[in-house]
């Protein structure tokens, strides 16, 4: 049952990713990319990363799609069709080889949810044990983001702020 769900999710992801590249119209491509983000959010939720799934579905499928569509309407109001060119031979041969190499390397990764993997023996147990009594916050993700790693989150907020300022400076040039 688990296996079937995972295989079908993987197929949906590959299909939407391929369709987003191969489709002949930019608007369709943007919308298919939104559905790709949504399926990716389902994958995150399936593997238990609910916070990531939430962000992926809200930002990836919602906000990014709106931004893409608005950008399309501002920049290319008439012709949104894509002309495809034949890919170069180097890419046709090199990319499958790269994929094979990555699959070969993925053999050595720890199994999903492995208790002995390096990621789950070093700091994760400390956070999981101490989060509730340290911060009264049952959601460990929030306490890690906002307390244990607050400086990282502060800099991320600065990045978002800079993105907004950059868009304003570039696009509102004629504004007083």
């Amino acid at each position: 049952m688990n296996f079937l769900v995972e295989i079908s999710l993987l197929l949906l992801l590959v299909m939407t990713a391929g369709a987003a590249i191969l489709v002949k119209d930019l608007i369709s491509s943007v919308l298919i990319l939104g559905s790709y983000s949504f399926f990716l959010a389902v994958v995150w939720a399936w593997f238990g990363a609910v916070d990531v799934a939430f962000v992926e579905s809200v930002v990836g499928a919602g906000l990014a799609t709106v931004f893409f569509l608005l950008t399309l309407f501002v920049t290319a109001p008439k012709d949104t069709s894509i002309r495809h060119h034949a890919p170069p031979w180097a890419a046709l041969i090199g990319l499958p080889l790269l994929g094979l190499l990555l699959l070969y390397a993925a053999e050595d990764l720890p199994k999903f949810g492995d208790l002995a993997s390096p990621a789950s023996v070093h700091v994760s147990p400390v956070y999981l044990k101490n989060s509730l009594q340290d911060t009264q916050t049952p959601n460990v993700v929030t306490s890690v983001l906002m307390d244990y790693r607050a400086l990282d989150t502060l800099i991320e907020t600065v990045v978002i702020f800079t993105a907004g300022i950059g868009c304003a400076l570039l696009l509102r040039r004629n504004q007083p």
Binding site: F54, G62, L63, T142, M146, L151, T157, N174
Partner: protein
């Protein structure tokens, strides 16, 4: 330039949906310490509700007049976040170590709880304002004169 949508269906649905999206955004923001969500998602949801108002009712309507005021507050969220970090410095604490927040009558864990909540509000404001600001930037016409608004 974004025009108001002329379909009654879209306008009515927008009018119904926007308050619920805002309510859900606030719920996600303040429930982020107990369930999935938090400042980032809550901010995006709050921003998205105003973006929906801009897209459905047009940038000039009274529904999105609040958006024009909101973008004046760009950077407020960042000030809240860094300001909470700076408040921790008072009394010789460490930057962003909420245990050093000088709140009388609170345990260390409760201080951290308050600090997490305040910084989440800061992140939410920052993200929401940035999302709205980008949409308003995109909806400005670059070359004609009615863009003063």
């Amino acid at each position: 330039m974004i025009q108001p949508h002329d379909s009654v269906l879209v306008q009515t649905l927008g009018r119904i949906l926007i308050p619920w999206i805002q309510l859900f955004g606030l719920y996600v923001l303040f429930f982020g310490q107990y369930g999935p969500g938090g400042g980032f998602v809550g901010g995006v949801l709050l921003g998205t509700s105003v973006i929906l108002a801009i897209l459905v009712f047009g940038p000039e309507s009274s529904h999105s007049a609040i958006a024009k005021k909101i973008i004046q507050g760009d950077g407020l969220g960042l000030i809240i976040f860094a300001g909470v970090g700076g408040l921790c410095l008072i009394g010789g604490g460490e930057f962003l170590n909420y245990a050093d927040l000088e709140i009388p009558g609170l345990e260390t864990a409760s201080r951290r709880y308050v600090g997490i909540m305040l910084t989440q509000i800061g992140v939410a404001i920052d993200v929401a304002v940035t999302a709205i600001s980008i949409v308003i930037s995109l909806s400005f016409n670059d070359h004609d004169e009615d863009s003063h608004a």
